[in-house]
Symmetry: C2
Subunit: 415 residues, 2 copies
């Protein structure tokens, strides 16, 4: 594992978060420092940009703008949901990738994403090994869903959790302004894992939490739900119920399909795109109970709110990107950067490496023992786990009253 001289390329993949660009800053700033890295490319829309030979020369960017990436949400290089075929069945795209890697002498490949993206990263890593092209491949975790296997948590989660907890607190005060009865249903993202919805419980640490919380880990029974809501509502008269967009009944049918499903789509991985659940449940509760019910969907706001990101999350996202480059330069390949929580009373997170093979396509759900017995709330263990992840406040610099986000020149690399 001697020195490997060549270019590096970074791809952003999967759904946006508040800190995916902070990871990009970590990768790019670190790579620009490394002597053995001869060029630093940023792929336009992940693997798709590489296949289309469309990537940017990051050395052409203003260093101040690269610094601003730390507080700029979404995927500024452009993201993608693109599933590579099994190379044993069809290796056309892999051959194309290899050709481009050779053409630009790309020897370092960094891919920042979630489960599906680690699958892509893993396939490329294994293919390059198979054909004997020396290239160090490193996955960097990213997902607000926090469902990646092998890591204590994922960059992106802490910021989304902080936004959700803060907004839940603010809504708690808002819906209590009037001396009237009301049920508020919060719809929170999370297709199969309830990490984000569980984060609403953090508002309860300050005394402004939801009364009931429903995660997709537990089959959702609409009658039980109505009974539980009514039981709390009768006692408290003004209640908040947090529900994951991904809740399904015992037969696996999404609850939002019970009502008008206005945002139903299917993405390239065959995932149904969710939405409209809050409205559906609000309609059902209104019909069944006659209560005043308001549905609130946090929607995209929860994943792109850089203005109230977790500083811990931003710093860790940056470090993950930086570490990926440092390890790769040292000779590591075929791994994903992961976090390991140190023992002891103080929160401390160390970086470890996990095998891409082990991570690809595996989903980590909220453990059953962190969900209460009735399946309508979370336990103290979850709170202890999540609180350190939302510590510290990060926001972009504000200019003229508005956030100043990074502006990239996006100079296309040529050969």
């Amino acid at each position: 594992m001697g020195e490997l001289k060549g270019a590096c390329i970074l791809g952003q993949s999967g759904g946006p978060t508040a800190v995916i660009n902070a990871t990009a800053a970590g990768v790019i700033q670190e790579a620009l420092k490394q002597d053995c890295i001869t060029a630093v490319y940023g792929a336009a829309h992940g693997i798709q940009g590489i296949l289309n030979e469309k990537f940017y020369d990051m050395s052409k960017e203003d260093p101040y703008e690269l610094e601003l990436l730390k507080t700029t949400p979404s995927s500024l290089l452009g993201s993608v949901r693109y599933k590579l075929k099994d190379p044993d069945e069809d290796d056309t795209e892999y051959k194309k990738l290899l050709e481009i890697f050779k053409k630009y002498n790309i020897r370092y490949f960094f891919y920042n994403g979630g489960n599906d993206s680690m699958d892509t990263c893993n396939k490329i890593s294994k293919y390059m090994q198979k054909v004997g092209y020396e290239c160090r491949v490193m996955g960097v975790p990213k997902t607000i869903d926090n469902d990646l296997w092998g890591t204590d948590h994922c960059p992106g989660y802490g910021s989304a959790a902080k936004y959700i907890a803060t907004s839940t607190m603010e809504i708690y005060l808002d819906v209590r302004a009037y001396d009237t009865k009301m049920i508020t249903v919060l719809e929170i993202m999370g297709r199969n894992a309830g990490w984000l919805t569980a984060a609403s419980a953090l508002a309860g640490v300050q005394g402004y939490g939801p009364d009931l919380i429903y995660l997709p880990e537990i089959p959702f029974d609409i009658d039980k739900f109505i009974d539980e809501v009514m039981s709390v509502y009768e006692k408290k008269k003004n209640i908040i119920v947090a529900v994951s967009e991904g809740v399904r009944d015992k037969d696996g049918k999404y609850i939002f399909e019970y009502g008008p499903a206005l945002h139903k789509h299917t993405d390239a991985f065959g995932h149904v795109q969710l939405g409209g659940l809050a409205a559906t449940l609000a309609g059902i509760l209104k019909e069944k109970t006659g209560a005043k019910v308001r549905g609130i969907e946090f929607s995209l706001l929860q994943r792109c709110a850089a203005h109230i990101a977790s500083l811990t999350d931003v710093n860790e996202a940056y470090l993950a990107g930086q570490a990926a480059v440092q390890y790769a330069v040292q000779g590591i390949t075929d791994k994903m950067i992961a976090f390991e929580r140190a023992e002891g009373p103080e929160y401390k997170c160390n970086i470890k490496l996990v095998n891409l093979t082990d991570v690809a396509n595996v989903e980590k759900k909220v453990p059953r023992e962190w969900i209460n017995k009735d399946g309508n709330g979370v336990t103290e263990e979850f709170i202890k786990y999540a609180m350190p992840l939302i510590q510290g406040e990060s926001r972009p610099p504000f200019e003229n009253g508005l956030p100043r986000f990074a502006r990239l020149k996006k100079v296309l690399a040529t050969k």
Copy 2:
């Protein structure tokens, strides 16, 4: 107009904002300093609390918690939507109020609210004058809708505008992560006046603005809307459309009534409570165009987001409350505190007084000349007007990663 010795009472009324409690801090802290004010009461749920003889002794509160009111959203004393009868038809409630005012020797009445609340304030003022009970009555403006007559702008608007502009910028980046076509419809509050929806245009100052903006001031033509959206969509492929919840067709029918109206309610003033417009329009656009369309409703988040309030707004809200007390002590009554923008290149706002009679029930809409010719955007004049109002960032102190909002003891006043 000599010194008037007696108690004062503050009522919060109408919809929550991020800064209504900042005004309360201004009133309470200033009133506690005044020798002629013998007690400082805060009404539980505005006029309803006074009628029910339920109000709090604010001198019992911890000064630190009163200070925290400046960064605590919603209406911490409790708000109300309650319409007093015409005293010439039924003066029962006025007699009750007079009795309570006499019992507690209330000589200063401060009412913080919007159009409807100024109607309440005006009726009480005129009644007290008619029956010869000396009481200084001051209205203090408050509404995210910014539709109060006689003032340059209203406390609450700047913070909601800042939240809307910031969130629009973040959504702008989020929806561009993928290299795919999409129409995003933002639903923004505002029943009859388009000030809040217009604020989405402020995101455009940084280059992240919506492509089309529809205000309730202009009759909404669904076919024209579809044509305009499609025309921009064909050129740009990824577009954002901001629409006020209150848009109506030429016959006055709400557009959200074209589709499923899940949140339809009527409040005490006979206003229809709106919501679900984004979903309705998204559904219509999807059906007509086949495009991928996402509807996002800012919902309550836009009016309670103290975590990204405008510092200018917070400061002005505080000053308005403070000024109300100072003027009343000096002998002024039957007025509302208003803002007047000073001439000159620098933004400076002076306090002036307007007659309650002139303010009650009058709505100030966005001037036609601040809306573009096609009725689907705003002009530079609007931007110039609104930008100073979102300057500076205010947020609550954060403790353990979460906002620390004011906690009041709410000790009931007794006599």
